[in-house]
Symmetry: C2
Subunit: 591 residues, 2 copies
């Protein structure tokens, strides 16, 4: 496995220089976040990720999860690491102090998660999913529910899940069939089978609190008849002690391509006792609160595993000796040159670096906007909400698709040694691959972006972002050093509007035009968003001296010269229309 | 696992209508290949692939290979399938009748291999590698060596390997250290360790003939001091019976991302007895004969696994019900519409189809050119050699990279069900992933193309191909129905020359410009080559009636509108120059 080292220098650059720590001073209730505290949190998180989690990652993939007689076993060391994580209070970093947490904004959790999830993605799913019932209960729970469940979930003595998917119902949540029968006392009998439940069963915590979507008997069909329930694995007595085992059981676990240390469970609810969270038939509203955070967290997966892959590939490229540089031997005393001297290897590494660092800046910015929606003033909330509505699906789709590319490159740099399991490079690709699927596929994100957000707002949400970019370009028009970045950024930014007009005109005639354009449209937007981030990072770095800033400028230049041209291909495909996709009757796809 | 069905309709279209069966009549020694025989071979191969090999594929991945006490066990059923394959004479389809084979041209083996390898890639590695010693012995062996080894290799009573890679020496074959000490009687003692040896040990055949690259004591350093040896696992007595066990042993097998049913072995040669093939120090010449065929065979892997993935994805898209078409319910009596109605799902399926069928046509054409180099007249040989020199590295790089894309799409169409192992979609991606690495990475192919072939010939080899495309475009200039294909084809064809000029000019100043441009240049070439194939297929299909031809035209249109635009992104990146890649000192890549 590559030896993961938290990229603290870059994390500090983005937070302190690009986005600024003064952000925290404007957040109601988070003013105590000083630079010293920031440094201490990052340092502590890095140590935990590097020293506790990273060493469990390869072994966790090899060992995987076991299933016998309804019991799930997790890989060696996972439980102890979870205990340490809970004991250290990491799980409540962004829970308000009044509720018993550290009172830090959510963006600090994003930084922590980048490190823990990069070190061991499969492990990070357990504390990640334990946030699902926390968020649901905080959003819709009664005081009694909060008192009963939150303290144990905060300490990670208990974990949790989000039970949504059923075998016939994935993207189309309206089809779900799990039934809830009211007992008349606020409790319900929940019956049905959920699949793909991460952490549905495990051997690490004494209880598991399932957040379950189900349909109350007689509720409307479709998405307007879905309610949210809490279903504990073990019932909780009035005095807080554990009572009877509830009738929710793990039927089996999936064999998967990756994240093998994370137990993916089939969960059978057989008249399990559940408690309504919030109001009947309004379960999806609460769920969507989780989904937005989860989408950003999944976008971050691309940065996490991309960074790990980049670190591994770079280390290997520096030590692996094969062939001579075409410009003359660089390592004349050795039998060959390190492959990092070869331009195509360098191109692969620069691609990883440009995509990972660009995505990191993008996601951190969105996490900051998310802070504003929770702790900002009215105007800040409105602006942040609009930007997040537009940019969250772009981040989820783009950063996961490029995350697959980046981890794929990591395998390629290692050559045959990347394909065997020993070095862990192929694990990163396997662990990454799920991210374009769960929390809404790339296709679903793209429909959300183009259909609901862009067209649904009559272009208003898009203009909110492109105007921002336009202003940035205007502000640096006279800066000759920035011309190489500003000109192409301004061009793709303007092109974004043109593409939107063209697709919009077609869509008036034919609703399928939205779906036909959507993924290319979204990836186009992703390349523009990263160009905006890279232009900003270049601007800051051009004004400073030193190796780090020189590297930033060089990477920005690489992004604009070698990566951004892809936007043109997506632009052309996005405006090509639905005909070439839909004209062929599906019955003729294979003859 | 998707239920593999050999795509006989498309295979027949490409062979009979696009390329024409009259091809075979012009090949010296292959005139007996009638259409009836062609049909019978395809039918027999399809039955074997569908009924014998496909059912072993998922289980082979789950079971994998075992290793204990130096013995390798292969998955259940693999040995029996290999015996059937050998008994049926499939291994000698393209061996001349005079040598005991079926006397058919190599392109017929390509068709057979597409089917067997699509049905079970891991299994297909065993007969595939057994061709390595066959080719070496036929090219450089003595009559005695031929008599001793070929009959048993033909019948697959014995299998074989190609032993090239060592742990410190992959792409850079000149670094190899395995030593050969002459005994003075034509035999040598071979000592060294080879890695990544497919089929190095197995439990299916009574002997294994290793073709081994080694360095005779005192030979020059680098690639000019490498010789080729035959090293049998079990020595063969003068009467053909098996004698002593040779001192070549499997030290371990690799745990890999995919092709788990294929044993990838570390092979230790401890003064193993070996026999020189051909002349000392000229081993690479023979090896390169294998490599060219192997490169085309690896390109084909993209078609094989891409086809299997497409078939699986299409079947799933037709039965999986999620959400309603945006243009109104298509399956009003069901709870939702099949996802094949959604434009983005259709876009994914069309992308698979366009890339697989385009690559199939491209590779079949190259296989035909390969026939001409072996059975054609002088003029045909010269032209075919030139085209193959240029197009083989493009096919290897492009068809494997797009093969990874296509199998990746197959996972995506299945959503979460694609990520779990049960349906076999993720296996296809894992099995595919090695193909951009072995037989020369995408980077190595691209250096070969741009450096050795294009620049090395002063552009002559490229012009041989672009002139051909130009003539095709000229010939259809007046055909209005073809304008949508001819105009963009002519444009990218002309652009190819321009890109080459630009890169060539830069390369005069800086040799790194070749490496910096090479992969984007090669992928650009791949998109042009497929555009040429699709334009030809459209031309044939426009003139005919019926569903199959309508589907061909629609897929050609999709290729030109939605896939070919990618060429522009690669063109821009290819001419962007080496500076943005190389300016950043490698020591600054991570700070």
């Amino acid at each position: 496995m590559p030896d993961y080292r938290a990229p603290l220098t870059d994390m500090a650059f983005v937070n302190k220089e690009l986005l600024g720590l003064d952000h925290y001073q404007q957040l109601n209730g988070c003013e105590s976040l000083s630079e010293d505290l920031w440094d201490a949190i990052l340092d502590g998180g890095a140590k935990f990720a590097e020293n506790v989690l990273a060493p469990l990652n390869r072994a966790g993939d090899e060992e995987g999860c076991g299933f016998e007689n309804g019991q799930v076993s997790t890989p060696s060391g996972f439980a102890e690491a979870l205990r340490q994580y809970g004991d250290a209070g990491w799980q409540t970093l962004s829970i308000p102090e009044a509720e018993g947490g550290q009172g830090l904004p959510g963006s600090m959790s994003t930084l922590l998660t980048e490190m823990t999830a990069a070190a061991n993605y499969a492990w990070s799913m357990y504390p990640g999913l334990a946030h699902a019932p926390i968020t649901c209960i905080r959003a819709g729970g009664t005081e009694e529910q909060k008192a009963t469940y939150l303290p144990k979930l905060f300490s990670l003595e208990w974990a949790g899940t989000m039970c949504l998917t059923e075998s016939h119902c994935g993207s189309d949540v309206g089809l779900l069939r799990t039934k809830a029968t009211p007992h008349g006392d606020g409790s319900y009998s929940i019956s049905g089978t959920k699949i793909f439940i991460s952490g549905g069963e495990q051997d690490m915590t004494e209880n598991i609190i399932h957040a379950v979507l189900a349909r109350v008997e007689g509720a409307p069909e479709g998405t307007s008849g879905i309610s949210l329930f809490l279903v504990p694995k073990v019932m909780v007595n009035d005095d807080g002690s554990l009572g009877e085992r509830n009738t929710v059981h793990c039927g089996s676990i999936e064999k998967k391509m990756g994240i093998k240390g994370s137990a993916t469970c089939v969960m059978n609810f057989d008249n399990a006792k559940g408690f309504l969270l919030g109001e009947e038939n309004r379960g999806l509203e609460v769920m969507f609160k989780i989904m937005n955070t989860a989408r950003l967290g999944t976008a971050l997966q691309g940065v996490c595993l991309g960074e790990a892959s980049f670190q591994g590939a770079l280390a290997y490229a520096r030590e692996r000796l094969q062939m001579r540089s075409l410009t003359g031997a660089q390592n004349p005393d050795g039998p060959a040159d390190p492959i990092v001297v070869h331009p195509d290897v360098r191109r692969m590494l620069m691609t990883q670096k440009a995509l990972v660092e660009g995505s990191r800046a993008f996601i951190y910015w969105l996490a900051r906007l998310n802070d504003l929606t929770q702790h900002g003033n009215e105007e800040q909330i409105a602006e942040a909400d609009d930007l997040l509505s537009l940019l969250t699906p772009i981040a989820k789709a783009f950063c996961t698709e490029t995350g697959v590319e980046v981890t794929n490159i990591g395998v390629q740099v290692f050559g045959g040694h990347g394909y065997i399991r020993e070095h862990g490079m192929e694990q990163l690709l396997r662990d990454m691959r799920i991210a374009t699927i769960y929390e809404g596929t790339t296709g679903i994100q793209s429909l959300d972006l183009l259909g609901r957000k862009v067209m649904g707002s009559g272009g208003k949400l898009l203009r909110g972002f492109t105007k921002r970019i336009h202003k940035f370009c205007e502000a640096h028009n006279d800066n000759n050093a920035m011309t190489e970045f500003i000109e192409p950024l301004a061009a793709v930014n303007a092109q974004w509007g043109e593409i939107t007009m063209k697709v919009g005109e077609k869509a008036v005639e034919n609703a399928d035009e939205i779906g036909a354009a959507s993924v290319d449209y979204t990836l186009f937007g992703g390349y523009v968003a990263l160009a905006y981030m890279w232009a900003q990072m270049a601007e800051i770095s051009l004004a400073k001296e030193g190796d780090f800033y020189a590297a930033k400028v060089a990477t920005a230049r690489f992004y604009f010269q070698r990566i951004l041209p892809r936007a043109e291909a997506h632009a052309r495909a996005a405006v090509a229309g639905a005909d070439s996709i839909m004209d062929l009757d599906e019955s003729l796809l294979m003859l």
